[in-house]
Amino acid sequence: MIVLGIDTSCDDTSFAVLNFCETSRRFHIKSNIISSQIKAHGEYGGIVPEIASREHLKNIRSVYEMAMEKSGLRPKDIDLVAVTAGPGLLGSLIVGYSFAKGFALSAKVPYITVDHIKAHTAANFMAPFEISYPAVALTISGGHSSLSLVKSPFDMDFLGGTIDDAVGELFDKVSRHLKLPYPGGPVLDKKSREGGKNYKFPRPLINEPGYNFSFSGLKTSVINFTRKNPDFNLADLACSMTDSICAVFLKKAAAAINEFGAKTFILSGGVACNSMIREAFINFGHEKKIGVLIPEPVLCTDNGAMIAISGTLRYLYTPGKNSGNTDVYPTTRW
């Protein structure tokens, strides 16, 4: 089955063409093109929703054409279109969603809408039936921080999420305050490798029951610290802040693994590119003797491949797939 995956949920326009072999039940990525809008949003220090949606419209055809050209396939080879319908920026979602509808109509193929957060987890599902379930999945990005219980590749239960800022927002807002280039996450990550855990920052909700996160207080604490200590060391600050984040994630992940008897831990989302967080979870896997899955960085950030994987699994294996629930209106929250 050849699947076209489309993601325009935030500031990246992405198309991917994947082949799903129904015999081996493995995915093969034929192309995965991501067009970034960092330049367009850079001067604002963050994503401007209207600019994002206009950029999507400007880029959508060329990104599609690049993805098809790289795949070596033609529209008539596509068997299914999968598209993000939320959560995300509404104006941006509508561009990809409407394109998918037009494409499906003229190519005479079915389309399916996909939950973006679940799709991040699905970025680890190149061979979805070879993973030991249940698994606990942590999705961390600019818009989301959520913990889920993965019972099977197409059956996930939400355990908890952020009650205020997402972890990626924390990185972005702190870096904006420090006047670092946008996006700030990679800059702070690089700096953190040069520093030590010499500052003490709060670890929000670490001892609270449940699986919710809160990063707004940590953001304020870091910003206040830099105001009170103007001579702070940036590398130490980045390292200490990331250490606080890791501590919270590791504690919550361990609790979920124990509670649900998980055999695998899955990390995903744009912030999963952070080297300190990746390393912390790899070590966590060794300590707990549990399998840890983290996608390569290109599949951590928003991409069409994860949408294609999630859409295919939902289309082929979700009971009631033809009952009309394959089309969800674009939504800021799924």
């Binding site: 033609r74 409407s98 109509l105 190519a107």
Partner: protein
């Protein structure tokens, strides 16, 4: 420009009322209008499919698509163009598409002998009280001569329309209620607002005019926004 084969699809989503028209040759075969708040994107494909089904045609029979590129709702513009891009990509270049301006359509609709010699202003309301406009002087020699005097599209306020531009007639689509609700315009143009409906016959006539007489009204497939919504850089300091 789309010619030769005869079946065309015309798609308008730039204000709340979405419409799909199927033309066979220069005659309207089917026209439907749809309005449900915040559901246009959800139903766009279903309405197009329904329109084709009503005319017993498939996408393979369609020679081309005309889509209204604006001005109007920014989300509506993106919706119409995105669906059109999807339609084009799904058949790998077998379908041709052109854009049309809603303001051109309004001026065309008002290009009748009754208004010859009148200064007209086609208006489409924006969401923040602004008006997207295009001015022209209606000629007695037909629409082509009227379009020879047409201005560029621009954004202005109702005060400037009344005080500076002072057109004889305002033209708008009847569904654009904000034009009728604007007090400044109502005080000056109580009797001088001409409505040009985005109807099956009107669409057929305008497309026929584009294909037969004035190909300059067929636009490249790009949005007509006329306005940046984010012209000022936000404060970057966090309180």
């Amino acid at each position: 420009m789309i010619q030769e084969k005869t079946i065309k699809l015309v798609f308008n989503t730039v204000y709340e009322k979405m419409s799909v028209t199927v033309l066979k040759g220069s005659a309207p075969e089917f026209h439907c209008e749809y309005f449900e708040k915040r559901r246009n994107a959800f139903n766009a494909d279903k309405i197009i499919a329904g329109a084709m089904s009503s005319c017993a045609v498939t996408i393979d029979d369609i020679a081309g698509v005309y889509v209204v590129c604006g001005p109007g709702s920014f989300t509506g513009i993106k919706l119409g163009l995105s669906v059109t891009f999807g339609l084009l990509c799904g058949v790998s270049g077998k379908l041709k598409a052109d854009g049309i301006s809603l303001l051109d359509y309004l001026i065309f609709g008002a290009s009748v002998p009754a208004y010859a010699g009148k200064k007209v202003l086609a208006v489409v309301p924006g969401v923040k009280g602004e008006f997207f406009c295009k001015a022209a002087e209606i000629s007695s020699n037909g629409p082509k001569a009227s379009f020879d005097s047409v201005s560029c599209e621009f954004v202005t306020s109702s005060e400037k329309i009344v005080d500076d531009l002072k057109p004889d007639i305002l033209i708008c689509e009847p569904a654009c209620a904000a034009v009728f609700e604007d007090r400044v315009l109502a005080s000056r143009y109580a009797e001088g607002i001409v409505t040009v409906r985005f109807s099956a016959e009107g669409v057929a006539s305008f497309i026929g005019y584009i294909e037969g007489i004035d190909s300059a009204r067929a636009l490249p497939l790009g949005p007509i926004y006329l306005k940046d919504t984010y012209v000022h850089k936000p404060k970057t300091e966090i309180a």
